[in-house]
């Protein structure tokens, strides 16, 4: 489950010397690390199902599906950036900006167009981040931290107060259901599927993965590192824009202050899924797994009615437990 961005069959030749658990090989692929992760997930689900009576209700499962959309979308974009050994701290602010702009434009534009402008804003911010980082060879952390601040400011410049469009059509995107499954969840799954194909099966996707592994090599192979860095940040911006628009539509009101610290959850999802902040390593499926783990933890604690502060205490401890389980089953660093 952790290695599909470095495409299919991978034979391990070199042994990882100490602390070695028996490895599980299925169809020539070492799936041990994936299994460890799935074990952690299943444990959480079982825990939730056994200890609470409401976990397996349709209502709750629908909630779960809905709740993971924002972090999920951000996490995919973040993964792409992390694969290049970068980071995008600005996503939370982009969520706010895209949301408020599209909500603001509902008054003047047809709804689909207003939403599209919101997403376009995300694309634009991602592009600027990418151009600054690649063009001036700046550290992604500082550039996107500065962007976090600037874009948040711009969201307030656009509107100091929250905007709640009156046209109920604005809510459709965020609240519609396709059968039992919320439409935003389907969009998120679509992003992961298409995004997974992008990273594993297209030259641009492969270039992004390779840049994080060894950018000098990529440059020497005659592939433009800059172009692909810009692309990566643009993808992250796009996901954030999409997340912002969907969130505003779901909540029904766009606030310029929304989305603070979203970047941390998105990064956490990637890293829980085994991505390395040093770049080159990370998996789309495992990132989705990370998103699900985070959502499950929140849901579990809420269903148990754990008191807020103890929730925080437990949430941190559970995350540590999850990555220890995962780490133990993996050869490499989690």
């Amino acid at each position: 489950m952790t290695s599909q961005t470095a495409p299919p069959p991978v034979e391990d030749e070199r042994r990882t010397p100490r602390r070695q658990l028996p490895r599980l090989v299925v169809g020539g692929r070492d799936v041990t690390s994936g299994v460890g992760f799935v074990v952690a997930l299943v444990l959480l689900v079982v825990l939730a199902a056994v200890t609470t009576e409401n976990f397996l209700t349709e209502q709750n499962l629908t909630n779960l599906l809905r709740q993971m959309v924002t972090v999920g979308l951000l996490a995919y974009g973040m993964l792409v950036v992390i694969l290049t050994a970068g980071i995008d701290l600005s996503v939370g602010s982009v969520v706010a900006f895209s949301g408020i702009v599209s909500a603001g434009l509902v008054a003047d534009l047809p709804i689909p167009l207003a939403l599209a402008v919101g997403v376009a804003a995300g694309i634009g911010f991602g592009l600027v981040n990418g151009l600054l980082i690649a063009g001036f060879d700046l550290a992604p952390f500082v550039v996107t931290l500065a962007a976090l601040t600037t874009i948040r400011g711009l969201a307030f410049v656009y509107s100091e107060v929250p905007i709640a469009p009156e046209d109920p059509g604005f809510f459709t995107l965020g609240t519609a259901l396709a059968g039992p499954i919320p439409v935003p969840t389907l969009i998120m799954i679509g992003v992961f599927v298409v995004g997974g194909i992008f990273l594993t099966r297209t030259p641009a996707g492969r270039a992004i993965v390779a840049i994080g592994g060894n950018r000098e090599t990529v440059r020497l192979a005659g592939i433009s590192v800059k172009k692909h860095l810009v692309l990566a940040y643009t993808i992250s911006g796009t996901c954030a824009g999409l997340a912002g628009v969907i969130l505003a539509s779901r909540v029904g009101i766009a606030q310029p202050s929304v989305g603070v610290a979203f970047e941390l959850d998105a990064i956490a999802a990637c890293v829980i899924g085994g991505a390395s902040l040093a770049g080159g390593r990370g998996s789309v499926r495992a990132t989705l797994g990370g998103v699900i783990v985070l959502s499950l933890i929140n849901n579990l604690l809420n269903l148990h009615g754990v008191q807020s502060f103890w929730q925080q205490v437990l949430k941190g401890l559970i995350i540590i437990a999850v990555i220890i389980v995962q780490r133990r089953s993996m050869g490499e660093r989690a």
Partner: protein, 307 residues
């Protein structure tokens, strides 16, 4: 409700209800006090209360409410903090047929069952009137806001204050350019910066007491305690003590989390019992000065030792 785990007061006067409390944030003493009050009152009335904390994230608030609905709560109390509205939340509660009581924050959009809260603008006006009278010679008055800019509670308080002071020709108003973030540390820093540009202030209004306490320290550090008086909002214990002690902290407006919280839970139960309730209830916000500060301190101590 058929909910398990009604730990206390089985069949008590409140009936066998479970009430969900959705907090937008618990990251401040006021909101925290609200949550505590609701739960304390629930215990007294023998019903179960389950609270959640959205950490200031509107989307998480929506999820939390969905989780509460999943848990089969009978009513939901939303302590919305600075949240302007949450139509989707209200809609899903409406769809589930669950009554909603808003405490403190009245949402601008969406349908709720009942609201209880302070009149924030009114508190600001009270502070303004007090300062206008306290400083007959007028002068330069600083305003420290909590932020962010979309925080309507703060906006209402400042608006109220400025409707008095801003309109009074004896006074000149300077708003601190940056926000104090509703905490004492922020109030301190903002005040320090404000003093660097405006050492000639005669009064400072802060959107809550926590910031005012920090500002008071900055003023003290700058040796200007004799020159500048402070006006806050909330009735935080430390502020009351400062007022009672006759310091340069001269006034605040009580915005009692405890009172509103308890009333909020009662209101939820009343609705569940099918009683006819008032839709909107403004909870009184008495002005607190040196004269009556001790009284309020005693009351507060009573509450905390009681729970």
């Amino acid at each position: 409700s058929d909910d398990s785990g009604n730990t206390s007061g089985e069949g008590g006067e409140g009936g066998d209800y479970t009430v969900g409390v959705a907090n937008f944030t618990l990251g401040g003493p006021y909101f925290n006090g609200m949550d505590t009050a609701i739960r304390a009152q629930a215990e007294e009335r023998g019903v179960e209360a389950i609270s959640t904390d959205a950490n200031g994230d509107a989307a998480k608030l929506a999820s939390d409410v969905e989780d509460l609905i999943s848990r089969g709560v009978d009513a939901v109390i939303i302590s919305g903090g600075p949240l302007e509205s949450a139509p989707a939340v209200l809609n899903s509660l409406d769809a589930a047929g669950i009554p909603v009581v808003l405490v403190d924050r009245q949402f601008q959009t969406g349908e709720y069952t009942s609201w209880l809260g302070p009149d924030n603008e009114r508190i600001g006006v009270q502070d303004g009137e007090f300062i206008a009278e306290y400083l007959p010679d007028g002068g330069k008055v600083g305003v420290i806001k909590g932020g962010p800019a979309d925080n309507s509670i703060g906006l209402a308080r400042t608006e109220g204050f400025l409707s008095v002071i801003g309109a009074d020709p004896r006074f000149e108003v300077v708003e601190a350019p940056d926000f104090g973030g509703w905490g004492s540390d922020g109030g301190l820093t903002v005040m320090e910066n404000l003093l660097a540009s405006h050492p000639d202030l005669v009064a400072v209004f802060c959107e809550n007491d926590a910031m005012c306490l920090g500002a008071q320290r900055a003023i003290e550090n700058a040796g200007l305690s004799d020159q500048i008086v402070l006006a806050g909002v909330d009735g935080q214990l430390e502020a009351l003590e400062a007022i009672a002690a006759g310091s340069n902290y001269v006034v605040t407006g009580l915005n009692s989390a405890d009172e509103i919280g308890r009333l909020g839970l009662d209101r939820a139960l009343d609705i569940l019992e099918g009683e006819d309730v008032e839709k909107d209830t403004v909870v009184d916000s008495p002005q607190i000065t040196q004269e009556n500060a001790q009284e309020h301190i005693d009351r507060l101590n009573e509450i905390t030792s009681g729970s």
